[in-house]
Amino acid sequence: MGKYIVKRIAMGILSVFIVATLTFFLMNLVPGGPFVAEKSISKAAQEALEAKFGLDKPLLQRYTTYMTDFLQGDMGFSLRQRGRTVSDIIFSKFPVSARLAGIAVVVALCVGIPLGCVSAYNRGKLPDNFIIVLGTCGIAIPSFISSVLLLYTFGSWLQLLPTMGLNDAASYIMPVTALAIYPTAYITRLMRSSLLDVMGQDYIRTAKAMGLSSFMTLFKHALRNALLPVIAYVGPMLASLMTGSFVVEKIFTIPGLGREFVSSITNRDYTMIMGTTIILAALVIAANVLVDILYKVIDPRIKLK
């Protein structure tokens, strides 16, 4: 077990390292320096700025400098938000995004799992068909479309919910909904097919043959096995929530990390893009590693080394 954990963590660190390297070199592939866009500054000022940020040095040297600094927690200064370090900005914005994503995870699990169970339990009947239709639509609607439609319907048209920021409980409703639609639909479908798969297993037949009620069979014997794929999905789910947060935070004007990332793209704030990319990738990778380890703990079949 210890060996597996160490191996998995090492793989995760390697992944983060690769992301960081890729990001660094890709950023430097962009034609023209980051200050070219600013027409207001003179050539001399531009060179001075480039010297200040070390952009006049050879690429490899800049790479090693960046990486050593990064390991010490220094991701440099934001190019656009003068005087603020990238880590500063990230740490101030992250809690907002984390809260939003956390609520969305809870919603997705609490809605998706029961819906999937109901669907599998009523296989082929009306509730099942209804849930399948909902689930299929849920994974077909991109988050920016659902956000915008929600905003239009409940914000502008019916004027029921606040359209900006995260100031009170009601303002969470729309962004969380928009963020949770895809993972909820995905979990519902996953739970349904996984449960149906498990219900067809021999040990379920054994449980029934020994006199257990179908309710007990479902809850004691099937559910635990059927939940395993859902647990495995938690890692990818975080990645999809991150993807969703970029647009949802932009649309609902939420001061989170996703919106910061998007605006740094539009502003071509390269140090910010680099910093946020690495941090977000590291988060998702860490979640994946954790889920993998957790999975082995829950499923006794997998031999622990």
Binding site: D202, Y203, A207, G211, S213, R224
Partner: protein, 332 residues
């Protein structure tokens, strides 16, 4: 004579699939005394498992019992509700399945799974259930029961798991144990051990057993009576000796002819049964075995043969026997 434990009369069961009605059982009748061991032999799809499952109300969707009566231990099985079935399953009648690898839940310990059944059907406390589970494991010949109770199924070998399955099935001392090909998935040496164990347990506990198998060797060593099934019919029924030494149906003869024997001489070849089983979506009007039968007559193709009683305990459904009986009658 002791009272009949199980009596099935003219059971008809069909699976209503999108492709049409698959007639899995077409008038199956037999009975079982208390403490009797019956073997049901037949190839896959002949309806042997379906018959056994219907006794426990475990007929899989989209199967439905459409005719006949089943009496078991004073219950009218065909009229029972799911709730009544639940009280009966695992308590009065139990079953062990073919594949011990998949028949135990991988995420619960052995102890947990045995105790669950005990506590479901008795009002024993947790501690009592555990003690009983330990006793059961000892009964089925598993050493170090305390340790095993805490283990997960994947930590045990196939033979061990089948022993655990037997322990679960016998937890509440059922009157009838259905063994659905209990040894098919096991190694030959383990097969013998499991069969031996089952015989030993039967002597100790005195339950009846229905042994479902396609292996004539298994029934020969264990069973008192044998029912041979083909395409949803019992084509021959008799005591083990009668079936093995005086097979009467051509299918039974074919089955016995295809067992290799040590005494087989070189000139004698194993005789396979040629052809394919019938399509149960469109069962033929006559004897279902007719298209594969070597001695098939014109009448066989058109009409189901009537029952020919060969002795008190032995009967078969074959036109050849009818013909012989008629000729014998004429001569007499």
């Amino acid at each position: 004579m002791s009272e009949k434990l199980l009596e099935i009369k003219d059971e008809h069961l069909s699976f209503f699939t999108p492709a049409g009605e698959v007639k899995a059982l077409n008038g199956v009748s037999f009975s079982l005394d208390e403490g009797e061991v019956l073997g049901i032999v037949g190839e896959s799809g002949s309806g042997k498992s379906v018959t056994a499952y219907s006794i426990m109300g475990l007929t899989a969707y989209p199967g439905r019992l459409i005719g006949g009566t089943i009496r078991f231990n004073g219950h009218q099985v065909e009229r029972m509700s799911e709730k009544e079935f639940r009280k009966m399953r695992g308590n009065e009648v139990s079953i062990i399945f073919q594949d011990p690898m998949t028949s135990l839940n991988p995420v619960y310990t052995i102890g947990n799974q045995i105790e669950e059944v005990i506590r479901l059907h008795t009002d024993k406390s947790k501690g009592e259930a555990r003690a009983r589970a330990k006793e059961l494991l000892e009964l089925v010949g598993i050493n170090e029961p305390d340790k095993r109770l805490k283990q997960y199924p994947h930590e045990l070998s196939g033979g061990m798991r089948q022993r655990v399955m037997i322990a679960i099935a016998l937890a509440c001392e059922p009157k009838l144990l259905i063994a659905d090909e209990p040894t098919t998935a096991l190694d030959v040496t383990i097969q013998a051990q499991i069969l031996e164990l089952m015989q030993e347990l039967r002597q100790k506990m005195g339950m009846s057993i229905i042994m479902i198998t396609h292996d004539l060797g298994v029934v020969a060593s264990m069973c008192e009576r044998i029912a041979v099934m083909y395409a949803g019919h019992i084509v021959e029924y008799g005591s083990t000796d009668e079936i093995f030494y005086h097979p009467s149906h051509e299918y039974t003869k074919g089955l016995i002819g295809s067992i290799p024997k040590l005494t087989t001489e070189e000139s004698e070849r194993l005789v396979p049964i040629e052809g394919q089983p019938v399509d149960l979506l469109n069962p033929p009007a006559g004897c279902p075995f007719a298209p594969r039968c070597r001695s098939c007559m014109k009448v066989c193709l058109r009409r189901m043969p009537p029952k020919t009683q060969l002795s008190d305990t032995h009967y078969s459904y074959c036109w050849l026997r009818q013909k012989e009986a008629a000729e014998g009658g004429e001569r007499a």
